[in-house]
Symmetry: D2
């Protein structure tokens, strides 16, 4: 019987906190689902910033977004958004995220982005320095 | 050889137009992806309104949203959002949507909603009048 | 007694209609006040577009905005936004606006913009073609 | 010559920090002016929360908002929003605010709210406990 520890998960990840603002709510009384999309992008910005890659914004169009909503969030609650760089592909990145309220999971999902010049319809391979900065175990 | 016409697609559907507003853009120069979510919901509101069901809002929490982004949209472009009630389940509805720019498909995806009382975590069967109003061929 | 007609008001003006979308509401049940700001800018875009000046966006930073809120607007109501180019200054424009619900005035106010290059802190005189396109009686 | 210290300013006040999110920007490259309105409301929520009055939201319709924009803010900058309860009237409150970027003032202005039941067009006097909680030197 070998005695090998499971490898640590070194994929880039971040957790940010945001209050549910009044403008995040709608007439149902709880959060509007567009708020989840904004929180996820705020977490992505923080993750990229921590890895020195925030300047990618403007060249990382979103190519897919999917989310399952599980519970309501209410004005003033503190939301935790956990985002992990789940897969670093040749020309794309997939993030997985979990949005939590005080004691519930409000939403889970994923966001896939690509690397493309501002006016180009075509994705390009990530520059080497981006791969180096974001590699972790996320690479495949 | 029989001579039977294919049945017409009578599922409820709607197409709305919206200009890309300045506040729909971001510093990449084109539309922010949150705009798609708002346009889809505007189309849903118009579809429900036309079938006398707009008062459902507030009791139809979103349970799943997925979208593939295909092309950029620019300030001032007129966007066409086509939304079809693709599936009327016992307690949920799935809409499929296509967002078009002037000569491109900008996004395709689906939105699934459920029927639930404002403070209840549990979905309920659609009231009979809702099924009657929205039935079309969407029922399964 | 002379027989002189009052001069017609030829200042550029526009009225647009927008439904109150679900995402325009908040947990108070009615429209969030940020919606007014977006509607006003949508009216401005339409006014500039009709005068061939929509390309100004990006070089017309907002310098002042003021609004008095008078009545609530509710999901699904059709809102009328009337915007008039009230004053065309050397380097700025002031629009006055009125936002109406079905039978009430919801908000009145004004928005002042300037002409400035994207990265410059300093306003510049309007180009001659802008003055010519927007002049009407708005010039001073 | 008397030796009287100026009275301390005990008006309720708060300063919050928010990063400029990607969705706060527009195609001009810098922040969209609607972001200021959201930041101001976030500061108001924090101020009321600290004084145990966050539950007022839903019964405090906005009655006036005015803002002067002075400088651009860019994606990723940390914004400081200082809000002070400048005047506690019988039925209304006026907040004054200053929004700062890293080394500039981006916007200054004021927001006036009233106290009203959710469906009433008429403002009411603040409840005594609200006055007690928010009084400070702001009362007049």
């Amino acid at each position: 019987m070998t005695d090998v520890a499971a490898p640590a998960d070194t994929r880039p990840r971040v957790t940010i906190s945001r209050p549910v603002e009044w403008c995040d709510t709608d007439a149902a009384g709880h959060h509007h689902h567009g708020a989840v999309l904004r929180w996820v992008e705020a977490a992505e910005a923080e993750l990229l910033r921590r890895h020195g890659q925030a300047a990618l914004f403007g060249r990382i169009p979103r190519v897919r977004y999917e989310v399952d909503y599980r519970n309501r969030l209410w004005f003033g609650q503190l939301v935790q958004v956990e985002l992990v760089l789940a897969r670093l592909g040749e020309k794309s990145i997939r993030y997985d995220f979990t949005v939590r309220g005080e004691d519930t999971v409000a939403a889970t999902g994923s966001l896939t982005i690509a690397f493309a010049q501002p006016d180009s319809p075509r994705a390009e391979p990530w520059p080497e320095e981006v791969r180096a900065a974001l590699g972790g175990q996320g690479r495949t």
